[in-house]
């Protein structure tokens, strides 16, 4: 017998009971992290790679790359912390060496440190020994690659979500990371004045962008095609992408806006300011992460599909 004046309403009780059946466990904050970490690690890793390729002549690029890396991965990591149920326990994230999140936390922390060192070197000791700087760049390239790979694996190892459970996903994410990273890198480089960028690096940047976009387009097509013939939840995901509630994200965001349009603009040599193309590519990268995360539904146990339909 209740004597309390304000019972929690029946509607709220029902809302709680039904909330977790919506299926969304990871939301926009995680999508934001996947995108920003990919962008940051791709930019820094690519810049580091270019510097190694041009024998240490691309310092200006690596500085830009380090900033993009620091901000991208840094803000992404903050989003992750914000998303935690108990952010104040963040130091526990590295407690299980078998967990991809633990490994990933270490990897991205190292990347943040490397980016910070690169920036500090640029400001305080630009005359540092080329050998040391080279070693720094090797590490940066390696950890940049590692960061962009592990986020894909985070999703791909989940066997019960067939839309994610493919080795194609980490590959797709790496290509997307580097394509968004290179695009950000070159658009910042083109707008900044007084930069020394060796011709070799500039060439690789511009042709690399086109190549990565083309590769990504092919991979997305391949990804959708293989998922079409897979388990039910994968097919449902493809349907959501191609003609369902995620169609705008897929066609406008990923395919046309994020890949085809920038590709056509760059190949045709249309004089569009690079930041505009970069915005398209970045929006495409974000749409890709959003589309993949939203559509990755779990294979259902018997009766679950009906249950979801009947629940009021």
């Amino acid at each position: 017998m209740l004597s309390r004046k304000n019972p929690r309403s029946g509607a709220e009780i029902l809302r709680f009971a039904q909330n977790d059946r919506k299926g969304e466990i990871w939301g926009l904050k995680v999508v934001g992290y996947l995108f920003l970490a990919g962008l940051g690690s791709g930019a820094f890793g690519a810049a580091a790679g270019l510097d190694l390729h041009t024998n240490g002549q691309s310092r200006d690029l690596t500085n830009i790359g380090a900033w993009i890396g620091l901000l991208g991965v840094g803000v992404g990591a903050l989003l992750l912390l914000w998303d935690l149920g108990m952010p104040h326990r963040f130091f526990r994230l590295v407690g299980n060496k078998s967990s991809l999140i633990s490994a990933g936390t270490v990897i991205l922390t190292v990347l943040l440190v490397l980016a910070s060192i690169t920036i500090i070197v640029a400001v305080f000791s630009p005359g540092i020994s080329p050998t040391v700087y080279r070693a720094l760049m090797v590490l940066a390239a390696g950890f940049g690659l590692a960061t962009s790979i592990y986020v894909g694996f985070l999703l791909a190892v989940v066997k019960c979500r067939p839309f994610w459970n493919t080795p194609l996903l980490p590959l797709l994410f790496v290509v997307s990371s580097f394509s968004t990273g290179v695009s950000a890198l070159s658009s910042v480089a083109s707008t900044a004045s007084g930069l020394r960028v060796p011709a070799a690096a500039a060439d690789i940047l511009s042709s690399g962008e086109v190549l990565l976009l083309g590769l990504e387009l092919v991979m997305v097509a391949f990804y959708v095609a293989t998922m079409e013939n897979a388990l039910p939840q994968a097919r449902i995901a493809v349907r959501r992408w191609v003609r369902g509630d995620l169609a705008a994200v897929f066609w406008l965001g990923i395919v046309v806006g994020g890949l085809m349009l920038p590709l056509v603009l760059m190949v045709a040599g249309v004089l569009v300011p690079p930041p505009l193309v970069a915005i398209l590519i970045l929006a495409g990268g974000f749409s890709l992460r959003y589309g993949v995360l939203s559509a990755g539904a779990r294979s259902l146990v018997p009766g679950e599909a009906q249950q979801a339909a009947f629940v009021r």
Partner: protein, 203 residues
């Protein structure tokens, strides 16, 4: 079967153990009660129960039950009710833990109708529908399923307990607003008819 500590739950085992009998024959008793009741009522000049008194028979007679509803052909479906297993009699519909349990069972929170019936009216699972009787109409969510006769729609009515505190915020439908009490539709046990002729259409 279940674990050992569950088996004495059922009454029959106890009846057997205590050497008790179920009361038989039920029909003769019913007839006796009917005669007794009739005498008492008539002795004080009460005749309101006369129709029902005729029901106290050992063997039931057939009545044109559907014919008791003099509604038009547009009211083509029967709205019937059922009990919820989670709530049984319904005095407990305000208990949140049971509301959570009931939310997992089909039929709560809406009015169940057959898949073909729904399709013929352009209704999909989860749509808002109007269930209208000659007395009034009621808005509810459609629960489209196979386990319902195509000419029947079902509301888990729970004796109207959905109006009680906590439960009333759930917005789960009760058939009370669209049925009426009448002697014509009351049987000898005092049970009123939890059926009504309705038509259903999308809201």
């Amino acid at each position: 079967m279940g674990p050992a500590f569950l088996r004495p739950w059922y009454l029959h085992a106890l009846m057997v153990k205590m050497g008790l009998r179920y009361e038989l024959p039920y029909q003769e008793r019913l007839k006796r009660i009917g005669e007794d009741l009739g005498e008492r009522l008539h002795s004080v000049g009460s005749h309101f129960w006369d129709d029902q008194l005729r029901e106290y028979q050992a063997m039931p007679e057939w009545h044109d039950f559907p014919g008791l509803w003099d509604t038009g052909p547009e009211y083509d479906l029967w709205l019937i009710t059922c009990r919820s297993m989670q709530f049984a009699w319904g005095g407990n519909v305000g208990i949140p833990a049971l509301i959570e349990a009931a939310s997992m069972a089909i039929g709560h929170g809406g009015i169940s109708l057959n898949t073909s019936t729904a399709r013929a009216r352009g209704i999909k699972n989860g749509d808002d529908i109007w269930v209208e009787s000659p007395v009034g109409r009621l808005k509810a969510k459609a629960v489209v399923r196979e386990g319902v006769h195509p000419e029947v729609v079902v509301a888990t009515h729970m004796f109207g307990h959905w109006r009680t505190p906590v439960a009333k915020e759930l917005g789960w439908p009760s058939m009370n607003p669209i049925t009426r009490l009448s002697y014509k539709l009351t049987d000898e046990t005092g049970g009123t008819s939890d059926h009504v002729r309705v038509k259903v259409y999308k809201a």
